[in-house]
């Protein structure tokens, strides 16, 4: 998508955050914070909105997500941490830091956390990259089904995944001979199970829109397929790989349920330790130290990823998504992807589905028939699984809208070309900060809500109205992370050219960024919906007992005796899984296409 007919475009253009070489910088010092600057014809910009006006607009745009994060994330988490670092008299007391940091156990936990998270991230990337290529760049029957299937793990409650994995890996299970039950390998496999689709989707979305001619040219010039991949494709995909990698790392480093359920006995992580210190000991001082360590890990990871991303971020020649039929050269990635999907993703899901059709009366639909009734296995004042499903969908829709309302302006803000050092820094800081909700323990956030929002507005909190807002906080990083790479790929010269041709900033936004944004929006909305639908931690703390969501209800069903309750939990999980896969597929389809369609290759 190049405006300049003569643009060779084989050479990636400079990073959009950098000032174009032709740019004049006469007013750097006076540039409004976050303000757009068109170096070519500043006059036109000014005529359109005026720098003050534009600054104001972007300030307002920034204020909404900032306020949102402040109220629904910083305040709760800050309240908990504040309790951890003050003594009874309200004075600062960091004594716990010295104690906890001096223990060798602390560092063992840090090591285990990092080791597991790195293994989980590398595993997800290693299997996810071929997956992204095969599922987004190649074309074959059943591809969309596989794409949908790979998202399913994302929303399954961990306790259900734990059950499904254990059913396969346990001594008596079909894969028991592997000896993986209760090993760290099982934990890493579960991490890959959960995060495979994050890599596949984020990288795949960008990959499918890369201009294939760049690679073709390299091949024509004599580069081997591997060399082409390493020197042309990987750098182009860099932002998406870094983005997906840092997300997966955060998910892995804060994994709780799977470490507890599948892991080697006694092996803990920072997350499990925060949980234990908070729930079992209510030792907020020690918990605050571990939370701080977790923060440090998160910030390091995000910084590292951002650095890598900044090094690779380039304006790209993006096109309508293209794909080609499978070729002989695709055999290896295809085989890897099939093995991953069949053995790792599908097997536990199949086990789950099979179990959902088994009941005391043998194979059949009994568990599904029970979903509409609460008789016999009554739950929570008669909330049935089907009602919980309805609640979940409605809450998740609310959460999706909230996430997009906050996330889209945020993504635009983060990808504005800015020039003043102040603005660049603010942008970077914001970019990293947005990831924090993923790197903070769910139990810290949960109890944080109790001491902040619930304490201040109990009636509002007990009404359940905060649930979609809390879910939106969790979904926001994913949404921003999936929009930013796409928007960063906008060639800054497009914006400049548009401005030169007289477009107002609003029009530039609409006509230049708009199509890119629209392209990423379906995926972002799908992610937001899926995350909200599967959210468990904050929801348990905030949901009104008579308005339970499905994941919460499933976990509670699993906590009760009786075959019917177990069967209903399995059937409910299957329904949740099918719903998510469908929504993700539909959201991707909603992505607007060019008039020519994409079926015909170019």
């Amino acid at each position: 998508m190049s405006l300049v007919p003569g643009d060779p475009a084989l050479v990636p253009t400079p990073a959009p955050t950098r000032v174009p070489a032709s740019g004049r910088a006469p007013e750097t010092g006076t540039a409004p914070p976050g303000g757009d600057r068109a170096d070519v014809v500043p006059g036109r910009w000014r005529r359109a909105a005026g720098p003050v006006g534009r600054g104001l607009v972007w300030t307002v745009v920034a204020a909404v997500p900032l306020a949102f994060l402040a109220v629904f994330f910083l305040w709760p988490v800050g309240s908990m941490l504040a309790r951890g670092v003050t003594n009874a008299a309200g004075q600062l007391d960091l004594g716990a830091f010295a104690e906890v940091l001096a223990e060798s156990r602390t560092w063992r936990l840090v090591g285990q956390t990092l080791g597991l998270a790195v293994a989980g991230t590398l595993g997800s990337l290693l299997l996810g990259l071929p997956g992204a290529y095969v599922l987004y760049r190649c074309r074959f029957p059943g591809r969309n089904l596989l794409r949908g299937l790979s998202t399913v793990p994302f929303v399954l409650p961990t306790v259900v995944v734990g059950t499904a994995f254990r059913a396969l890996l346990a001594e008596n299970g079909p894969l028991g001979f592997l000896g993986l039950d209760q090993t760290l390998t099982a934990v890493v496999l579960a991490m890959v199970f959960f995060n495979f689709s994050v890599v596949v989707r984020q990288v795949g979305a960008l990959w499918s829109t890369l201009d294939p001619r760049t690679g073709e040219a390299a091949r024509m010039l004599g580069a081997s397929p591997w060399r082409t991949f390493v020197t042309v494709t990987v750098p182009a995909l860099g932002p998406a790989i870094a983005s997906a990698g840092s997300l997966v790392f955060l998910f892995c480093s804060t994994a709780f349920g799977i470490v507890q359920t599948l892991g080697r006995p006694g092996v803990g992580t920072l997350e499990t330790e925060i949980y234990i210190q908070t729930t079992a000991f209510l030792d907020l001082r020690t918990a605050a130290v571990f939370s701080t360590l977790q923060f440090v890990v998160v910030i390091l990871a995000v910084t590292l990823a951002n650095r890598f991303r900044a090094g690779t971020e380039t304006a790209l020649r993006l096109r309508e998504p293209t794909s080609h039929p499978l070729r002989r050269a695709d055999a290896v990635p295809f085989a890897v992807t099939m093995l991953t999907v069949v053995l790792l993703i599908a097997a536990p899901i199949v086990a789950l589905v099979a179990r959902s059709f088994q009941s005391s009366q043998g194979w059949g639909l009994r568990n599904y028939e029970l979903l509409g009734s609460s008789a016999g296995s009554g739950f929570a004042g008669g909330t049935t699984v089907l009602q919980a499903l309805e609640h979940s969908v409605k809450i998740a829709l609310d959460a999706t809208v909230i996430t997009l309302v906050v996330g889209v302006p945020l993504a635009l803000l983060l990808t504005r070309p800015v020039r003043s050092r102040w603005a660049v820094r603010a942008q970077r800081l914001f970019d990293a900060a947005i990831m924090l909700p993923l790197g903070v323990s769910a139990v810290t956030v949960g109890f944080g809500f109790v001491v902040s929002l619930v304490a201040s507005a109990p009636q509002l909190a007990y009404s359940g109205a905060l649930v979609p807002l809390a879910q939106a906080v969790v979904a926001l990083p994913l949404v921003v992370r999936s929009l930013v790479p796409v928007l960063r790929a906008v060639d800054p010269r497009l914006r400049e050219a548009a401005a030169v041709l007289g477009a107002s900033p609003g029009r530039v936004l609409r006509t230049v960024d708009g199509p890119f944004l629209a392209r990423g929006l379906g995926l972002a909305a799908g992610f937001a919906f899926a995350v909200s639908l599967g959210e468990f931690g904050a929801t348990t703390f905030l949901a009104s007992p008579d308005y339970q969501t499905l994941p919460v209800l499933i976990v509670r069903l699993l906590g009760r005796p009786g075959e019917d309750n177990y069967g209903m939990a399995m059937a409910g999980s299957v329904i949740l899984a099918v719903l998510t896969a469908t929504v993700m597929l539909v959201c991707e389809r909603l992505r607007p296409r060019g008039a020519a369609g994409t079926g015909a290759g170019f």
């Binding site: 254990r166 729930t279 209510l282 004042g381 609310d398 304490a455 909190a461 109205a465 009104s544 005796p561």
Partner: protein
């Protein structure tokens, strides 16, 4: 570039798709909130918002109750309570019994609920020591529950027992006698057949740990656990992991025929039973929260929990036994899951004082063993 020429159409479509998304979203948004404040499927006369709650104080107002997440009350019962007492009932269930206690303690300077239900005997003393529950002696307390009251502050509502459960069929098929005592469990032939739950993360696990301390003494329990763990006893994270994934008579048909569960579990699994000698008492209490805005409403709710209707529904709704022992149990319970006579009774004061030390010691043992 043909994409440039296609752009206007593409944009129009993009805008169309966005518009559809937006309209769909707008049409659907707010529905979860609207649903909840309307007469959804929840509390009968709808949850009140803050304003009407305050203005309704003259006519009874709202009583807000925090419960653990296993609390189960039918709509009919809610309606009956509201009609009898004149209060509107709002409940909140932030998590399990442990979360409940933490939340009470965290918000004790600024209580947001009037009553609490679901504090168990393992946390009872701690809750009282923290000063989060007010005095209340309910006139509705049945005779059989008088001696379960804790310091006139916590009212017993239901009871049960945590017991090691046996897959009797497995022992029959393998021609092995099932264990009958706590001591048996630690023997090499049984220790490797036993799956328990982590006392740090699960409340039956903690109950069992307290029971072993009570039986084996402050000096002997560590040695007992050492033998269990070295003998191959498995520690699962929670009840559902242990029962559904590891227990041989559970849904997952696991590899362990002995599991830490409840005295009521055999009512749902006829081929299982309990090791009577391992059973330890569990009592769940309700209390009026200190500093409650509506203490009368809280008291009325506690009286309601003690009335026959709610007491009789306990086995069906919450898998617990009523404290009113004059009530009849459901048939499967009476047949296969009665309370064991003379269970292990841990000392509440000792638990309050030593719980954290026990858990830390246990955790050290466990991490060393693995």
């Amino acid at each position: 570039m043909h994409h440039l020429s296609a752009a206007p159409t593409s944009r129009r479509r993009a805008r169309g798709a966005l518009a559809i998304l937006g309209i769909a979203a707008l049409a659907l948004t707010g529905c979860s909130v609207a649903d909840q404040s309307g007469a959804g499927d929840g509390t009968a006369p709808a949850t009140t918002d803050g304003a009407s709650g305050a203005s309704g104080a003259g006519t009874g107002g709202t009583v807000t109750v925090m419960t653990h997440d296993s609390f189960n009350i039918t709509e009919e019962q809610i309606a009956a309570f509201e009609q009898e007492s004149g209060y509107e009932l709002t409940t909140t269930a932030p998590g399990d019994a442990g979360t409940l206690v933490n939340q009470l303690i965290l918000s004790k300077d600024n209580p947001t609920v009037d009553a609490v239900y679901g504090i168990d005997n393992l946390s009872a003393q701690r809750v009282i020591d923290e000063g989060v529950v007010a005095e209340y002696a309910s006139g509705a307390l049945p005779e059989s529950a008088q001696d379960l009251v804790v310091e006139d502050r916590l009212t017993p509502i239901d009871q049960g027992q945590v017991c090691v459960n046996v897959d009797e069929q497995w022992f029959e098929e393998n021609d092995l006698a099932a264990p009958t005592t706590l001591e048996d469990l630690a023997r090499p032939e049984y220790a490797r057949l036993f799956v328990t739950t982590n006392p740090v993360t699960s409340s039956p696990g903690l109950a069992f740990l307290a029971a072993t301390v009570t039986e084996k003494g402050e000096d002997g329990w560590q040695d007992y656990w050492q033998r269990l763990l070295e003998g191959g006893t498995k520690v699962a994270a929670g009840w559902s992991d242990a029962y559904y994934s590891d227990f041989s008579a559970g849904e997952g048909q696991g590899a362990y025929p002995l599991v830490l569960s409840y005295s009521s579990s055999p009512a749902f699994a006829p081929t299982t039973g309990v090791v009577e000698d391992t059973c330890t008492t569990q009592v769940e209490y309700a209390g009026v929260v200190e500093g409650a805005k509506n203490p009368e409403g809280a008291q009325a709710f506690i009286d309601f929990l003690l009335a026959e209707d709610f007491q009789a529904s306990l086995p069906e709704n919450m898998f617990m036994y009523p404290v009113d022992e004059s009530l009849e149990l459901p048939a499967e319970w009476a047949q296969n899951a009665t309370l064991v006579e003379d269970p292990i009774e841990a000392d509440l004061r000792q638990i309050a004082e030593k719980r954290e030390a026990w858990l830390e010691d246990w955790n050290a043992l466990y991490e060393a063993a693995s």
